[in-house]
Symmetry: C2
Subunit: 221 residues, 2 copies
């Protein structure tokens, strides 16, 4: 079954944790890491909520999924909460990723420090353009997609980042799936068809801009 | 009031149309444009729903916000629905935007065709690095942020794209707001504080990756 970003909130087969909740867990995690750097050993749901513009009740509901971590009037132990969120999200271990499409976006992603900080390592970079193959970007040599199966087998990469133009996206996705990739982060503005068992998150920057245009039009909410 | 992506779904002061619904309207629009290219004059809620992995009921609920466009058993007139969504999202007119931070991500965004297709035009590119000022990227000359107020006044730009490192993001956002920008699309992995009346949509790529890791860990849903 193929799916697109935000579909899981809407259709009948919801996981216990919605995509919106998973997104908030990531944002809580980001904020908690900041609190920890600032020396806060305990945090309250209202501290977390205020930092992210979410109600206390929503914070408590989201965090209840992680187990009984908080105590009324005392709050959540920052470090335990960080560990629980990382475990739930599946980022208490590293993830190896490959990138297909060695353009400007790929270059930006290779330098994006946020990925490494959260344990996402880019271990391969691929492009169909023979003129690019052999060039190095941030220490990674650009390879032909023919090498995908070998690189994925050797590195154990499970995630693929698609930074190709829309018209090449389905073919690149098919090659990644055939090579054993289990999840795709798709930046190409197109709908992808994927087999069951392969997860997809789409980053459609035009959707984000349209959301912004809507908010500005509504008067800057 | 500052806010982050997804906060509007969760807090008490919801607009009539949630961020999730606005996101789906964008996705419907993308699909409808495809249907129109394929020559479909009418579409049903189930055609739209199937294409995006959303239930019919959700599609009808989202589209009801646009007015009485559909007819039971006949469907929605494709062209009218496209026009109605573009009007609701505020993209029945062009938006001018400036980009602050002339790195690889900015270069990728300047070449991103999806923006122009939907009427989002980048009219200015800025960087604090004097070595970059004066260079051209895709025909746009990189300028010093000192020129922001003049460029924004001259072009009528209302949106700003922040592609600076996290530690420079708040200062860049403050400069954009002081120069009259009404909405920010933030790519820097940090929480921004903005005055009332300025809208914010944050694109945190680590959040998207964490969502993907979660889905893969759950067994490829």
């Amino acid at each position: 079954m193929s799916k697109v970003d935000s579909s899981r909130e809407a259709n009948g087969s919801e996981a216990r944790l919605s995509r919106a909740s998973v997104g908030r867990l990531s944002l809580y995690l980001r904020r908690l890491e900041g609190f920890l750097r600032d020396g806060l050993a305990k945090v309250s749901s209202s501290q977390l909520g205020e930092a992210l513009g979410v109600t206390d009740a929503q914070v408590r509901k989201d965090l209840a999924y992680l187990g009984h971590l908080g105590q009324p009037g005392i709050g959540y132990p920052t470090q335990d909460l960080i560990a629980a969120i990382r475990h739930t999200l599946g980022i208490d271990h590293d993830w190896a990723m490959v990138v297909v499409g060695a353009g400007n976006l790929a270059r930006a992603l290779l330098r994006y420090r946020g990925f490494q900080q959260q344990g996402f390592r880019i271990v391969g970079l691929f492009d169909v353009d023979p003129a690019k193959v052999g060039q190095k970007v941030n220490g990674l040599e650009i390879q032909s997609p023919d090498s995908l199966p070998g690189v994925i087998a050797a590195t154990g990469a499970e995630l693929g980042l698609l930074t190709v133009p829309a018209e090449s996206a389905q073919a690149a996705a098919d090659a990644l799936v055939a090579a054993g990739i289990r999840g795709l982060l798709n930046f190409a503005p197109t709908v992808l068809r994927l087999p069951a068992g392969v997860s997809l998150v789409s980053v459609d920057l035009t959707v984000q801009l349209e959301q912004l245009a809507f908010l500005v039009q509504m008067g800057g909410e």
